[in-house]
């Protein structure tokens, strides 16, 4: 906690505008409202975790930030601009999906797509390969730059994904469940890399996850979505029995065990993810 304070003050004195700003935002599909009245400011260098069960609107929030989904009401700004498709300010890490073995791309080509994959024509910028190499080095993936992406392990593929998201120097790193189906060691690698980036380059991080524990050491604030409602604040404010019970409308128990947070009692329909994860984690920790 202590080491984060100086960084925030430094940001404050520069009077930087928020990287992501939501004001009274709402999103609904037909009559089903995912969330409403959502206001959130994410400052440069800030690490915000977006938590919530399946179907609580986490992925829709990601799509709204990317400009792929219009808000029902309210405003959303990325680096002061309304969201639009293909904004350069956002580095996006989509939900973890394994590449097919035969995918005709090497790790360096995947990173290259993050730089200019959206551009028409065949022209290439000078210094392209140097930037790609630097991005791969920064996630410790330099050694498998020429490997076919489909032959890398899940953790390695995800590291290349991070390099791909960062190669264009975005101001916001948007990660949608980047830790799914990764082992604990790879999870730690990914979270460490993300944390290092925002410290070194002041990149803001919005990290969507259904499991808080892997990012617990790094998170500044939490946005918790559930049942059409939400709470924002520090981990200690939001992940409490009182707050979660209020969000879900049923009694929920939040326990701290060995520096980990265990949530018990989330209603059936929403529980699958949490439950599964707690079991998996429990098994690994013995």
């Amino acid at each position: 906690m202590d080491e984060r304070e100086p960084r925030r003050r430094r940001v404050g004195t520069r009077l930087t505008a928020p990287v992501l700003e939501l004001e009274d935002a709402a999103l609904s599909f037909g009559r089903r409202e995912l969330w409403s009245g959502l206001s959130l400011r994410v400052e440069p260098g800030e690490f915000v975790a977006v938590l919530g069960a399946n179907g609580s609107g986490k992925t829709s929030l990601v799509r709204a930030i990317l400009g792929l989904q219009r808000l029902s009401t309210g405003t959303l700004r990325v680096a002061g601009q309304p969201p639009r498709r293909g904004a350069k300010d956002i580095g996006y890490v989509p939900q973890q999906r394994r590449f097919d073995q035969q995918t005709p791309l090497r790790a360096r080509d995947l990173v290259g797509q993050g730089l200019d994959g959206h551009r028409w024509g065949l022209g290439r910028h000078a210094g392209r390969s140097a930037r790609i190499a630097a991005a791969l080095e920064s996630v410790g993936a330099g050694e498998f730059a020429d490997m076919p992406i489909g032959l890398l392990s899940g953790g390695e593929q995800q590291r290349v994904r991070i390099a791909q998201a960062l190669v264009a120097d975005p101001r916001l790193l948007l990660c949608d469940e980047p830790l799914l189906s990764l082992d604990l060691r790879s999870q730690r690698t990914i979270t460490t890399l993300v944390d290092r980036r925002r410290r070194e380059k002041d990149t803001a991080v919005v990290f969507v996850t259904h499991e808080i524990n892997p990012v617990l050491p790094y998170v500044d604030r939490v946005l918790y979505l559930a049942g059409g409602k939400f709470r924002t604040g520090t981990v200690d404010d939001v992940l409490t029995s009182g707050t979660l019970s209020d969000l879900y409308g049923v009694p929920i128990e939040v326990l701290q065990v060995n520096g980990r947070i265990v949530v018990a009692g989330i209603p059936e329909a929403d529980e699958s993810n949490h439950h599964e994860d707690d079991v998996a984690v429990g098994a690994k920790h013995g």
């Binding site: 990317l66 400009g67 792929l68 639009r84 498709r85 293909g86 904004a87 956002i90 996006y92 989509p94 939900q95 999906r97 590449f99 035969q102 995918t103 005709p104 791309l105 090497r106 080509d109 995947l110 797509q113 993050g114 200019d116 994959g117 959206h118 551009r119 028409w120 024509g121 065949l122 996630v139 410790g140 993936a141 330099g142 050694e143 498998f144 020429d146 490997m147 076919p148 992406i149 489909g150 032959l151 953790g155 390695e156 590291r159 791909q164 060691r185 790879s186 730690r188 690698t189 460490t192 890399l193």
Partner: protein
């Protein structure tokens, strides 16, 4: 020559020089088709669409045989059929599962229509057979100009959309996030694919289009993952198969397609074996990977 043996019927190089002069047009057509087929086939493989190609070629066959029956322009008929099929598959089958069922429905319908039209057709039977299995001597000058014009359109269009299309083909979700118009590109690609298939039908025949529009990239992807090298090899393989096929078929009484498909297949087999060797010998620098993981976590 009375009753030549089977070997002479398959390979016959008598009067080869004179024959070569006759198929001048066909050789140019074959080379051009090889280039376009090789380029398109990289995307056919990336987008997992070989089955769609087969369906489009059969609708193209239906269109061509319909035109033959009506006495209309065969090329135009084959173009109409393949572009219609490509658009239907593109519009209705954005999800892989939908796509496969639509293709499964479309394919026999196209083939059935083609059979009906050919059965009603009273003209030369060589024309009929050519649509299914290909013909070489039949490439006349207007047909060649048509082929060259279409190829130019396809190659230029591919050059413009190459990068976003490759992005959308390998990683649609992220490409959409970066502002690539994934759905629109998919439709454009289907039209280009339709054009290419219609061209291939003219040369190698409807039944064997896949040997030009799928096999070359499938072979290339076995030996390399570098996108540039895949494209280059794919073009080389496709051109080699078509031109090589024409050269071998020249003196024989057999349609061109078995030669093209056999060369194409042999290239694939060689690439597959080479790829398996490379895979075993360690494409993966396994030892260094553990170390870099530790570096990254630090």
């Amino acid at each position: 020559m009375a009753e030549p043996g089977i070997w002479e019927r398959v390979f016959n190089f008598t009067d080869y020089g004179q024959l070569l002069a006759l198929v001048h047009n066909s050789l140019i057509a074959g080379a051009v088709l090889g280039i376009v087929g090789g380029l398109i086939s990289t995307f056919v493989m990336m987008r997992d669409m070989p089955f769609a190609v087969h369906s489009i070629s059969e609708l193209s066959f239906a269109g061509a045989s319909g035109a033959l029956l009506l006495g209309a322009n065969v090329v135009l008929g084959s173009l109409t059929g393949s572009i219609l099929a490509a658009l239907v598959i593109g519009l209705l089958g954005s999800r892989a599962r939908d796509r496969n069922s639509i293709i499964g429905v479309l394919m026999p319908f196209g083939l059935g229509l083609g059979v009906l039209f050919l059965a009603l057709y009273k003209g030369r039977s060589g024309n009929k057979f050519g649509l299914l299995t290909g013909q070489i001597v039949a490439v006349d000058t207007p047909q060649l100009s048509w082929l060259l014009a279409t190829s130019t359109v396809v190659v230029l269009a591919l050059a413009v959309i190459w990068r976003p299309l490759a992005f959308a083909s390998t990683d649609p979700e992220l490409a959409a996030g970066r502002g690539v118009p994934v759905a629109a590109l998919s439709s454009v690609f289907m039209v280009l694919l339709g054009l290419t298939v219609a061209m291939s039908v003219q040369i190698v025949g409807a039944l064997l289009v896949l040997s030009v529009v799928c096999t070359p990239a499938a072979a290339a992807m076995r030996v390399t993952a570098s996108p540039r090298l895949v494209t280059l090899l794919s073009v080389l393989f496709a051109t080699g198969s078509v031109v090589g096929g024409i050269l071998l078929a020249l003196g024989s009484s057999i349609p061109i397609s078995p030669y093209v498909t056999t060369i194409s297949f042999l290239i694939y087999v060689v690439c597959r074996i080479a790829g398996a060797r490379r895979h075993r010998r360690g494409w993966a620098p396994v030892r260094s990977r553990g170390r870099s993981l530790a570096t990254a976590a630090r």
